[in-house]
Symmetry: D2
């Protein structure tokens, strides 16, 4: 048994779509129980029950969205005080307009989520370059996909990119399972 | 004439107290008009009218607070789309429990605010080492002060540290004034 | 009169090519004196004489190259001790393989150079979204261009992208000139 | 069996002293083989043989030292091309003058080392708040200790702080061992 929590915020539905693929990948691990939930609805209990925590955010103004940050400040911070999540496993993903062909701020967006994970004592799983589909969107910190073109028109997300998100969820859950067994 | 906007979020009153000192420093520049306002109440107009924007946040879980992030996402992002603030001047400050004697996450907290400033095209003013009081609290990115001891008991903020905050506000406003005159 | 220093490290010649465009842009400002120099050869005097400092690096393993870091540690650090560069103007640029379509680590590469600038007390000029060519390569922290395709084959740099680098050098020099006149 | 590699750069001997404590902690895990080596001397083979990689740097101008960066660029980068280190475990530590009581740039110093780890696909172990001695020096990203006072005079490192470094090495090695057994 291993329990993976996928928490996300979404504005146009893109981060939700990626979250669903991440969750699907997590579910492919034998014995995995996966909770996919919006940052507005997640509770302390969801975090406490999880072995792996995967957090996803739209990139807004070069960092994570305020709803993800609200979840971090109000749900995670009290768990930090109690050292309640130490030793669990964590990973991140993000989506964004990506204007500029250079990630559009996805690094600091991911690092602000990873700062929370490090504070909580989570073991951080990056996004390995060898993952199929990394070339279609990814930085070392986590999965990333661009969802708009240079005219700020939505482009959707390709099945190949969603497959990479799936592999991200699968890989993180696999490591959480290994660590559970000890 | 030069207009400085000081926007802050506060939980226990510490960031507000620093914001007041920053504003006081800004006011000491001849011809300065200073607006001191909570992130909950600031409007797009406040940003548009300002020559200098100084933003302050408590450090929460290793980045800026969700209320500062909400202000960035909802008030600043639409101004980014319009390139409405390019060429203005910006600076940041933060307060935190500082557990660990190593800044407690103040760098990424400041960098997530600076990411917003860079997106908006603001000219970023750091916190020079030569500022009187830097040794009592400061990193290169901005003014910082620790407000709790190692038992998470509030310590208050010394007058010497508040003086450094004042100098930060004064210095940023002075540069904004120089650039206005061209 | 305004003096702009463009310091770069280069491995395959790409960062040098961008540096030349940045320098060309700086030279277009009336009265500008521009020094274009490799990080290996730059001296403390070059930094002391400059009004604007523009630093460019290849992205290596998610941060700036070791030769840029050596220049920072050996040439800039002694100037930091003396507060010798405070109030000057700074900006950054980077090139990289960009594998993953998400900037390939350019943010932390630029932020590690900007950390040096903030330590030195430099006024930091970001890369405004409104710059012509930003869409071809850019993040808010500075100019960036991808120089390899997904098979790690060199692609060269388009004239349109080099034009954006030129505008970056021009804009930074213009602000340095404004601040000189006071 | 588990193999831990501790790589460091040192200028005044402080980072070396911490590295020795980290190595001592690693050695306390049953079956651990520990290699303690200067960044100047480490080879690709050292990285390939290790299960856990712990990297330590002085903080210079707000990021890691150029010798650590040289090691990353010349020794680690070729291993990244081959995906040779994916799935190993990594952690970081740093020392610095800490002028300003706010970490003196230790976050970006650690994050530039962690960027390398994420690129390599390493599983990142942070520094849990519950570690004895965290209050004497630590941020969530890794162990940190200040080695100078406000007059830039060396202060040495207390035995209590070195004990925290030891626990850091022990904890990282313990997790690497767990993951080896699967």
């Amino acid at each position: 048994m291993v329990c993976t929590l996928v928490v996300y915020d979404t504005h146009y539905g893109n981060t939700k779509k990626v979250a669903e693929s991440v969750a699907e990948g997590a579910r492919s691990i034998e014995g995995a129980e996966v909770v996919l939930i919006n940052a507005d609805e997640v509770t302390q209990d969801h975090f406490i029950k999880a072995d792996a925590i995967i957090m996803g955010s739209p990139v807004h103004m070069g960092s994570c969205s305020w709803k993800i940050k609200k979840c971090i400040d109000e749900i995670c911070a009290p768990l930090w005080m109690k050292d309640a999540l130490q030793g669990k496993v964590g990973g991140v993903f993000a989506t964004g307009s990506g204007y500029g062909l250079a990630g559009g701020g996805c690094e600091i967006a991911m690092i602000s989520m990873l700062a929370n994970f490090a504070e909580l004592g989570l073991i951080i799983i990056p996004f390995p370059k060898s993952t199929t589909g990394y070339d279609l969107g990814g930085v070392h910190w986590g999965y990333y996909v661009r969802t708009m073109d240079n005219n700020f028109k939505p482009t959707g997300i390709s099945p190949e990119s969603l497959k990479a998100a799936q592999l991200h969820g699968e890989y993180i859950t696999k490591i959480a399972k290994s660590l559970r067994k000890k």
